[in-house]
């Protein structure tokens, strides 16, 4: 059992638990067992004791009752005679005495308590002694009619006796009392044996021992009333199932049960010593204890074993888990309990196995990773180097845009460094030869430099790596030049001391423009990555070279552009001048100024050409002119073919004079002299042509010799055209101005004429009509009847003339465009109504119906209401004029934004062929009609003019003989407002 302590808490727990469990169970069962045994025993005991007690009680009772009965029987005498009775009784009594040795004495008392008869073994008999025993307890007690039993008394201090007093007879009974020797009872009692040392004893109603197997105990007259069992029994005499543990009479503990002797009030106790009583139990107890102990021991064992069996695997698990957890992933838990623990163990094992695997794979992965990282790191370092180199180169490129040298130097240096080579070099190819432009290396001896100088420049060939690269346009990598059959530069290689070489061509748009070459000391000294790097460098070199080239090109282009811009600006200015200023002088001055500037001349001049005179005069605009020369030029006419201007004009093309001071070339002596004086040498003339005709010449003079560049000449031609435009514009403008003035004058005259005409014509008419009216108005007194008619005729003629004049003037005004409409809002209803009102008398006089029809809701019109009245008056008046009978209707309606007037009549109508010319001036249907109907023939044309001024239309629908309807359609509102 060693190792108990070594095993842990679980074990102890299990052991304890199991032990407790099993032990507890055992204990329990033992206890229960014992208990039940006890009870059983007790019950048996009770039964037994009770039986004995009862038996004893019964016998004693029987004994006593027997005596009682015998006594009573003895009293029974068949004799009524007292004496005889007494005699008989005596006999009976003696017999009784003889028969029952227990009875010691019998006495008969008469109802008064006097002794009638006494028979005794011990004492002398008494017959009729009449001793008064009325106060004797034997007498008293029976008074109640029942047999009384006296308490036990002792004779001679050692003999227990009992008195049984039996009442006899009705009424006042006689008493027969017997003294009973209780030895018999003792005999009874002493015969009873309970078990080995169990016995029965009797106790009287006082609790005094009256019978006991051991007589001496009785003779002691022990009062046992104090004993608990006595007390209990006396308390409940009839209780029968009590077995009490009580002090034994002979000491010790005993088990007692009792039975009551009712009549005597005595109690019979059956007593058995405890030990003896429960002797059977002992065995059981012992057995139980043995079993218990054994059982306990077994249980301990069992529990230990069980616990061990349980705990072991768990410990195994625990240990195993601990070890696995600690890292011993190879450890496997070995549990073969064939139950869940085994399963758990397996699970652990599986987990451990998995962990092992994981770890293993993890370790592998980590290793891999580390390797990868290391690799990556190395790569990164390399890349960084490359990057640094590249950015360095780029920095140089961007900082020196115009100079390639620093760039190629940097490239060469970096190529050398990063390829860990012997030398690094940059070469250029100009299309024919390869040149060295940069070389980097640790040191170059004179010998090396010499050999290089001898080799380069060299044409592309396959003999050298660089040459081969340039020739083929591909990367050339020679791991060992000694192994390369085509390699020719071995002495260079020896001088520099290299065996491997890589040359990367610099390609610009696919064409090689150089190469970057690195040499290495060892064989195959260059990795793919390094070659890649060289390619990058080569590209950068290309960029650098290109940059420089582009930059120089850009510069030249920029300067060219600047020039063009200048020229364009000048041109722009000139065009603007031409289009904005009509002042010829200003324009020409601008043109010449720009021309002089752009041609880098000293001064310029424009001549106007007079075609008729065939000579140049009138120099217009001169810039930078010497005043003396100006004067000369102004005053000296140049003829066609002479001088710069003349020659140019004759040629109709730009003409250059190389040297105007040369007599041979320049023929206008006067001017030549001046030129010489001022110092002008070369001249350019540009003709100003307008529609093939020479209008003038632009001349530019320079103080330097030499020709004007074609670009300048071109430019100047453009200027020349501009000048022409300017001149023409000026001319046109002059003409327009003149014409305008003329028109203006004409218009003024016309208005003047109209005004004065109007006034002149109307003034006399005013007199004619006025006076006539006054005469007719009786200002000059009564008018003779005969004069009425002629005067009326004069009036109407005058009115007619007036109308004619008005019409003519109206027409003229309209023609002259002097007619203006007075625009205002006016009511169509009112317009039509005023026409109707004016013409009503006339219509009535002709018997014609004149109706109007204008919708009430017609909105206000906007136009010249007065003129509309005039038009409607004209049309309606005509309608009335040309209608013999019937009606004339004037109506107006609105159609959208158009106002339509209608004047319809039932007159003579108009022939189709006359309608076209109806609205022309001075036409009327017919000369005859004119005379019959009157009218000026002007009305319709004027109406049409007015309607047209109103932006409207007038037309007629007519049928000869059926009547006519004239329409005027005008916008309701001339101000653009809608009818809304």
């Amino acid at each position: 059992m060693k190792g108990w302590i070594a095993r842990g808490r679980l074990f102890h727990k299990y052991v304890a638990v199991l032990f407790l469990l099993v032990g507890g169970m055992l204990l329990l069962s033992s206890v229960v067992n014992l208990y039940f045994s006890y009870r059983q025993t007790k019950a048996a005991l009770i039964r037994l004791q009770r039986q004995e007690a009862l038996a004893a009680a019964g016998r004693i009772e029987q004994f006593v009752r027997g005596i009682e009965q015998q006594v009573r029987a003895a009293m029974e005498v068949p004799f009524t005679d007292a004496a005889m009775a007494r005699e008989q009784r005596e006999i009976d009594f003696l017999r009784l005495l003889r028969d029952v040795p227990a009875i010691t004495e019998i006495v008969q008392l008469d109802p008064d308590g006097r002794v009638q008869l006494l028979v005794s073994r011990l004492a002398p008999n008494e017959i009729g002694s009449r001793r008064n025993l009325s106060s004797d307890v034997r007498f008293l007690k029976t008074r109640i009619g029942r047999t009384s039993f006296s308490p036990v008394y002792f004779r001679k201090e050692s003999e227990p006796y009992l008195t049984i007093a039996v009442p006899w007879g009705e009424g006042a009974p006689e008493v027969a009392a017997a003294e009973v020797d209780l030895k018999a009872i003792w005999q009874v009692v002493s015969q009873i044996r309970l078990g080995v040392s169990g016995y029965v004893y009797v106790v009287d109603q006082r609790g005094i021992l009256v019978a006991h197997p051991d007589m001496s105990a009785v003779l002691q007259k022990r009062d046992l009333s104090g004993l608990p069992q006595i007390r209990a029994a006396r308390a409940a005499p009839s209780a029968s199932d009590g077995v009490t543990e009580s002090p034994g009479l002979q000491g010790g503990r005993a088990v007692t049960s009792y039975a009551a002797i009712e009549p005597l009030g005595w109690l019979v106790f059956a007593e058995q010593p405890l030990a003896e009583a429960f002797a059977p139990l002992q065995g059981a107890i012992v057995l139980s204890s043995i079993f218990f102990v054994v059982g306990l021991g077994l249980s301990v064992l069992a529990s230990v074993v069980l616990a061990r069996r349980m705990v072991e695997p768990i410990r195994g698990l625990q240990e195993g888990a601990a070890r696995i957890g600690a890292g011993e992933l190879g450890h496997r838990i070995d549990i073969k309990t064939g139950d869940e623990l085994e399963a758990l163990g397996q699970a652990f094992n599986r987990t451990a196995a998995q962990l092992e695997e994981s770890y293993a794979s993890l370790e592998r992965k980590v290793e891999e990773r580390t390797r990868e990282l290391a690799e990556a790191n190395a790569e990164l370092k390399e890349a960084l180097e490359r990057q640094t180199a590249t950015s360095e180169i780029l920095a140089v490129i961007s900082s020196s845009r115009t100079d390639v040298q620093p760039v190629v130097d940097t490239i060469a240096a970096n190529a050398l460094k990063l390829c860990r080579g012997q030398t690094g070099g940059v070469y250029t190819f100009d299309g024919e030869l390869i040149h060295v432009v940069a070389l980097a290396g640790h040191s170059f001896s004179a010998q090396v430099l010499q050999s290089l100088r001898q080799t380069y420049p060299m044409p592309p060939s396959r003999g050298g790596a660089t040459a081969r690269a340039v020739m083929s346009g591909a990367i050339v990598y020679i791991p060992d030049i000694r192994e390369d059959p085509e390699y020719r530069l071995q002495d260079v290689a020896k001088a520099i001391d290299f065996v491997s070489i890589v040359a990367v061509p610099m390609l610009h748009e696919g064409m090689p423009i150089g190469a970057v070459t690195v040499t290495g000391r060892g064989i195959a000294a260059f990795s793919q990555r390094q070659i890649e790097l060289l390619k990058t460098f080569a590209d950068q070199a290309v960029i650098a070279v290109e940059n420089v080239r582009l930059f120089t090109e850009l510069q030249s282009r920029t300067s060219k552009l600047a020039r063009s811009v200048e020229e364009l600006q000048a041109l722009g200015e000139v065009s603007r001048a031409v289009s904005s200023s009509l002042d010829l002088e200003t324009v020409l001055a601008t043109i010449i100024a720009r021309a002089v500037e752009l041609s880098a001349s000293s001064f310029g001049i424009v001549y106007e050409y007079d075609e008729t005179l065939q000579e140049f005069r009138n120099l217009r605009g001169a810039v930078g002119l010497d005043p003396e020369l100006a004067e000369v030029l102004r005053t000296t006419p140049i003829r066609l073919g002479e001088g710069v201007a003349g020659r140019t004009a004759a040629l109709r093309a730009p003409f250059q004079f190389a040297d105007v001071s040369d007599e041979q070339t320049y023929d206008v002596d006067l001017i030549r002299g001046q030129f010489q004086q001022v110092g002008y040498r070369s001249a350019l003339g540009v003709p100003l042509l307008f529609e093939q005709r020479v209008v003038g010449v632009l001349v530019l003079l320079r103080k330097e010799l030499g020709s004007f560049s074609p670009e300048v000449v071109n430019l100047l031609q453009t200027f020349a055209n501009q000048s022409v435009l300017a001149i023409q514009n000026a001319r046109l403008f002059r003409e327009i101005a003149d014409k305008s003035r003329q028109l203006e004058a004409a218009s003024r005259h016309k208005s003047q004429f109209l005004a004065s005409m109007s006034h002149e014509l109307r003034t006399p008419l005013n007199a004619i009509l006025g006076f006539n009216e006054m005469i007719l108005g009786r200002v000059y007194g009564e008018v003779p009847a005969a004069l009425q008619e002629p005067l009326a005729d004069i009036q109407s003629s005058g009115r007619h003339l007036l109308r004619l004049i008005n019409n003519v003037l109206d027409l003229s005004k309209i023609e002259a465009g002097r007619m203006e409409l007075t625009l205002a809002d006016y009511s169509v209803q009112e317009t039509v109504e005023s026409v109707r009102a004016s013409l009503h008398p006339l219509a009535e006089s002709k018997g014609l119906e004149l109706v109007t029809r204008v919708p009430a809701e017609l909105p206000l019109a906007h136009g010249d209401g007065g003129r509309m009245v005039q038009c409607l008056m004209n049309l309606a008046g005509n309608a009335i004029k040309f209608t013999r009978r019937g009606r004339v209707e004037i109506s107006a309606e609105l159609r959208g934004d158009l106002l339509i007037y209608r004047v319809a009549d039932t007159g003579i109508g108009i022939a189709k062929d006359k309608i076209d010319t109806l609205f022309d001036e001075f036409r009327q249907g017919d000369a005859t009609i004119t005379s019959e109907f009157g009218g000026t023939g002007l009305g319709l044309s004027i109406t049409r003019k007015f309607v047209e001024l109103h932006k409207g239309r007038v037309w007629v629908e007519s049928e000869l003989g059926r009547g006519s309807t004239f329409f005027i359609a005008i916008p309701l509102r001339l101000d653009g407002g809608t009818t809304a």
Binding site: S751, L754, A755, M757, S758, H759, R762, T763, P764, L765, N766, A767, L769, G770, F771, E773, M774, G777, V779, Y780, L802, N806, L809, K813, R818, M819, E820, T822
Partner: protein
């Protein structure tokens, strides 16, 4: 009640005669001026109750004279009838702008003129 004075500024003798005859039957007193200048002087001096101004006048135009008369406090309130010749549109407008109280176009009905006179300067 004194008779109202009418000043007629007109260069045409016939027209003046016509008005003279016309006014014969009335209580109006007529004074005449042949041109604008004298017209203005007469207006200032004689303070007529009504001025008839012909627009078509030599030297100063009727419009100008009207304007001038309107500007002077003594004649500013005098009703002026401008007599236009209806030649060019705008005559009426100009007359109104100059300050004419009314206008009449030639040729006019003498009775129409009389009515206008009576309205602007009742006979009393």
């Amino acid at each position: 009640m004194s008779a109202k004075t009418i000043l007629y500024v007109e260069d045409n003798e016939l027209n003046r005669k016509m008005l003279r005859h016309l006014l014969r039957g009335t209580s109006y007193r007529l004074i005449e001026a042949p041109d604008g200048e004298s017209g203005m002087t007469m207006a200032r001096e004689q303070r007529p109750d009504l001025i008839l101004m012909d627009v078509q006048l030599p030297k100063i135009s009727g419009i100008e004279a009207t304007r001038a008369l309107r500007a002077e406090p003594s004649t500013a309130g005098t009703p002026i009838i401008a007599i236009t010749s209806f030649a060019l549109s705008g005559d009426e407008q100009r007359a109104k702008e100059a300050g004419a109280s009314a206008y009449l176009a030639k040729p006019y009905s003498p009775f129409a003129l009389l009515e206008m006179i009576r309205r602007l300067a009742p006979e009393g």
